[in-house]
Amino acid sequence: MTGYFDGLEQQLRGAAEARAQAVARPARWWRRRRNLAILGVLALGVATPAVSRVTGVWHPDVAQPPPLGVATVSATPPGSTSGSCATAPQTPAQARARARIDPHVLAQLAVLRRPQRPTDLPAHGRLLESHPFGQTLVSRTVRYVGSVAQQRYYLAVVVGPQPRAGCSLRHAPRKAQLCVMIQGASGGCGIGPIGLRRYGIDGSSGRGRQARSSVVYEIVPDAVATATVRYGPSTRSFAVHDNFYGYVVALPPTRRPDAVTWTLRDGRRYRVPGYEQPAPPPASAHEIVPPHRGSG
């Protein structure tokens, strides 16, 4: 077989052995699921307020989506205005979609290198027409990346003015750039290869500053397998699929994570700069997340 299937066989063997041992081991009273659930409820009842706060932050499996309003996307540390821009009123598309995707960006996002599928086309037809900033969509570069709280997220390439500080787009140079589009909400654009490798593309959506919960998402480079997000004392890890992960948090969209750490496929960990530490120089960011070397 090959690396992938041999690796899978080894992992399956390990999991099968662990499960076989679990079956062979007699279930003790505290191992039974029902008793564990009762213990869990009791523990919640006597927990300190700090524990309640920790467990109350995350809502990854909410049944109803929170009301979504304006979405923001940023490739920069929270609090910075450079390169971050709320969605602006739509303007008519002004450019034809002839630009190619920056190969350095393409080399970092497997989801853009895979062939387009029917699921990549948003069911919400207006999404494609009303993409942010009135830019022109580059054909065949829309990729469905995942869903959070019943909102579907798409990664797309558009051609338009490069967002600048203060969102003054009129005289900005036109460039192909990455955008996130959210079905049922809006989206945002603006990221370069270095920014993608250092910060990913992160964003949040929710109804204004007073919203009780918000959806937070991030698009990360290929090498990232999991992302660990911390709000105050509460930490949670999310697996990355199609360069995407997202979650619902019981906090307003203005509240950003205190720390985000990427765990790469080879086990190395990388603290996303801008949250608690100064940004590394671009050269080291290149080394941390190597670009894809495949044929795509």
Binding site: M1, G3, L12, D120
Partner: protein
Amino acid sequence: MEAMRRDADRLLERFAAGDPDAFVAFYRQHLPAILGWFLRRTGDPEVTADLAAETFCAALLAAPRYRPDKGSALSWLYAIAGHKLADSRRHGIVEARARRRLALTPLPIDDDDVAYVTEMAALEPALDDALRALAPAQRDAVVARVVEDRPYGEIAERMQCSELVVRQRVARGLQALRGRLGKRA
């Protein structure tokens, strides 16, 4: 085909009884067929590899609940595969729920893996035909030794013959398979 069905049932029963090697043998035995099944439906080797991994992980998780009286292990495995395919089409993404539950680490897919998927998918019907054409005793010996990875002594005990006879059956069976698959190529 009937023998293969019985083999699959037996392997799952052995796994449910606490033999982890039985599940690995089940994986080896049915991986080519599952790859072919997914590739014919998706046309994408990478998605096929991903779906096959998720299917076998889901099968591992569900194996203790498998009931032979409700259907064969093969139809049970293909039912899981069908669910995984439908879910991936509905959500536009291959889920990794079962792999996460088993705490499997993500595996990168390279060009060799893609080539392997394509080869296995093409080979699977031919291998099935060639296996079916073997004498029953030879086929059982080849499957037990090559697919299930069982020691010769154990196979000999099960087949109620000497170890030497089992070795001969495996060697001749493999030779016959090589001949048939070689002719096809």
